[in-house]
Symmetry: C2
Subunit: 423 residues, 2 copies
């Protein structure tokens, strides 16, 4: 084991890497105790070197030349927190090819190019660690990399996007519209100027691809995730859910049938007090894993923010200082076969506006005729009916929605959401 310092170079100096730099500089003794050798900051690449920063970097070299930093002889590990794939991908390729370990918080570049970068790391005898990419301070990937190694994992459910958590809470309890809630999230720094990566479910899909890849052992094509964002969730649905003792969350779900993986990201009804992820609110993230020996394992923690993300990044730096490339393994090459949506099953929450007549009875009869079990029917004081179904094929439920929408007693299907867990 080396006892010389591990020399760190940072790509980007936004919220996350500023917190990383602070930890490395100000808690050197703690990191050395955990790593068994010193960890030192040697260089930082930023776009604008003239910009005033909130951190005193002392003698650390600050450069605009990221390409030079990633191949510098004075650096052992490159820590990337820029995000996205451009210009990140060529920089990470160059770093790995130059024999530098890489630590990144970037879910997109790993979800899209993790197989290529992993193979490159193996080729050059270095490690590519990205614990922060799925769940920030919540060590979700650890569950699959260093625990449950003897288990056959059958499903994963995750709340892994804090922005939609916040927006849905503001709409439900706060009574805001989607646009108002997004504006509030932006004002508080919880949402980007362009919030579509979060709101449309891309961020959660990237994370789900990482989780499923590590759990089931193969690359996951993120474009094959059945993905539905929260744009069509209404304040009315959130309030109806609340009355029913439920929450609506953007849930990432993966299931494994032994040969194929089913993948979805979508707004999902979760029973409070029943589904362990229903109470994972605000900036908290959580993952629920089902496996054959361990049963149900639940991990929750802080899934967003500078310090919690830095927690996972610095952990990866410490592990790299301690173990080098040992103990790290890339996800096996080769893509997992993804189940088509037609083969998936779900339970559903359906909200219908009646145009008069015995709408509940007629809808229930139609669903039962198609083999969709009806769990409950709730009439409201208004002209609305909410139906909860048991589990049925997704395609059967989708077809049934079209039929309901065209029934004479029905004015319109106002909403149809999947229900998480067993109904």
């Amino acid at each position: 084991m080396s006892t010389s310092p591990l020399r760190v170079g940072l790509l980007g100096l936004g919220t996350v890497n500023t917190a990383v730099a602070q930890r490395v500089v100000q808690h050197a003794q703690l990191l050395e105790a955990h790593a068994g050798r010193p960890v030192v900051l040697r260089g930082v690449a930023v776009r604008d070197t003239a910009r005033q920063r909130d951190i005193d970097l002392g003698e650390v070299i600050v450069t605009a030349d990221a390409a030079a930093l990633v191949t510098a002889e004075t650096i052992d590990v490159i820590v990337e927190a820029i995000g996205g794939t451009d210009p990140v991908l060529p920089l990470l390729r160059a770093a790995l090819a130059a024999g530098k370990h890489v630590v990144t918080a970037n879910k997109e570049v790993i979800a899209r190019h993790g197989d290529e970068l992993g193979a490159l790391a193996v080729k050059h005898g270095v490690a590519l660690r990205y614990g922060a990419a799925a769940g920030a301070a919540v060590p979700m990937l650890e569950l699959f990399d260093n625990a449950l190694g003897g288990d056959d994992i059958t499903s994963i459910d995750a709340i892994c996007n804090s922005t939609t958590n916040f927006v849905l809470e503001q709409m439900g309890r706060g009574g805001l519209t989607l646009d108002q809630a997004i504006a509030e999230a932006q004002r508080l720094g919880f949402a980007e100027a362009d919030p579509s990566t979060d709101i449309d479910g891309w961020d959660a899909a990237f994370k789900l691809a990482l989780l499923a890849g590590h759990a089931f052992g193969g690359h996951v094509d993120v474009d094959l995730v059945r993905r539905r964002g929260i744009r069509d969730v209404t304040t009315a649905d959130l309030q109806r859910a609340d009355e029913m003792g439920c929450a609506i969350k953007l849930l990432a779900h993966a299931a494994w049938d032994g040969s194929r993986v089913s993948l979805s990201v979508q707004p999902t009804l979760l029973v409070r007090g029943g589904h362990p992820l229903a109470s994972v609110d605000g900036s908290r993230n959580g993952v629920l894993v089902q496996s054959d020996l361990a049963g149900t394992t639940l991990l929750t923690g802080t899934g967003a923010g500078g310090d919690p993300t830095a927690s996972a990044v610095v952990n990866d730096i410490v592990i790299t200082a301690r173990d080098g490339a040992a103990g790290w393994r890339p996800v096996p090459q080769g893509s997992l076969e993804v189940m088509s949506a037609d083969d998936a099953e779900c339970a559903a929450y359906v909200r219908i506006r009646s145009s008069g007549g015995a709408v509940g009875d007629e809808v229930a009869q139609m669903l039962e005729d198609r083999g969709v079990p009806v769990v409950s029917i709730m009439m409201s004081a208004t002209d609305e009916v909410v139906v909860l179904t048991g589990t049925a094929p997704v395609s059967v439920i989708a077809n049934a929605m079209d039929t309901i929408d065209s029934m004479p007693v029905v004015d319109r299907v106002l909403a149809c959401l999947e229900v998480g867990g067993k109904v």
Copy 2:
């Protein structure tokens, strides 16, 4: 990386190692996929080789000569699930000295001799892994070994004994006495014939010593854990707690002030819906960690039983096949300084039988005079008063109990329990 098979030898063939053997024999393909090389069972040492077993071991050697198995040339890793220190300790010493990796589910031998065995493993270039020893299928130690490496950890709370969980639930919701509940647990196989290791808090104290050792980086003397079992918890207290929306759990708690660790195992009042561990019931175990970057991290899962314990044991075997001794580090040598009980602080639940008079007011006044904040006073229909205090030094609260017990308006202090979390 080796691609030859990892050859496993088992010490003991009780519930846990039978489940381990089944997994290794019947799920060879799964384990090879996770480990990157085959894992094969080569030998089993049992006390009675003539005994009929529920498992078909085929060609595997079954011997009564454990001492020969642990040094056999045909074995790479010894998996111990006998329990206790005798004859385990000399067997594990011999296995490590012979250059065998060791995997064990034995909390006692690690809590008492982990420093010696860890040093021996380092000396011989092998790994000593014991993920099953704290929390069975709940990878609690992983949180400290491979996550939170950049964090300053300040406290750990754990529910890590399923037997007391079960007994307290049977007493509370079932209305049984302690003896009846223990008998029921024994009938269902949840408690040993001699239940004292669980009931008196030793099992939880062993696990707390492991958790604190990994979290804070040093050996913990288990005899210095402030330990109180559940023998003096009454059905009346459990029912009172339930009425207050609380649970009473055997809680293991460790806190770190930067130089000293405070350690306790005791029955503790937890607010349901408030404290994340209050709902960790039955065979579930959980750990709640506070740290400076990550904030609050919660991990729960199945903490008892053959399959869940085998989950962690087989994971350690897979990691050993994959990484050998790499990625494994012993807890640093040297003992952590343990804070004396006099320096610890707690909040308290106090149940008092009144002998008439304004007992609530007088007790509250006395507590306030000693600097113990009073959070609430509840009179019951009977002659009882329950007082919840805020945080104060343990020694001050203990002295106050003596004073209350001798007050003229008080017949007797019926119970005093610590309250978990912030009050």
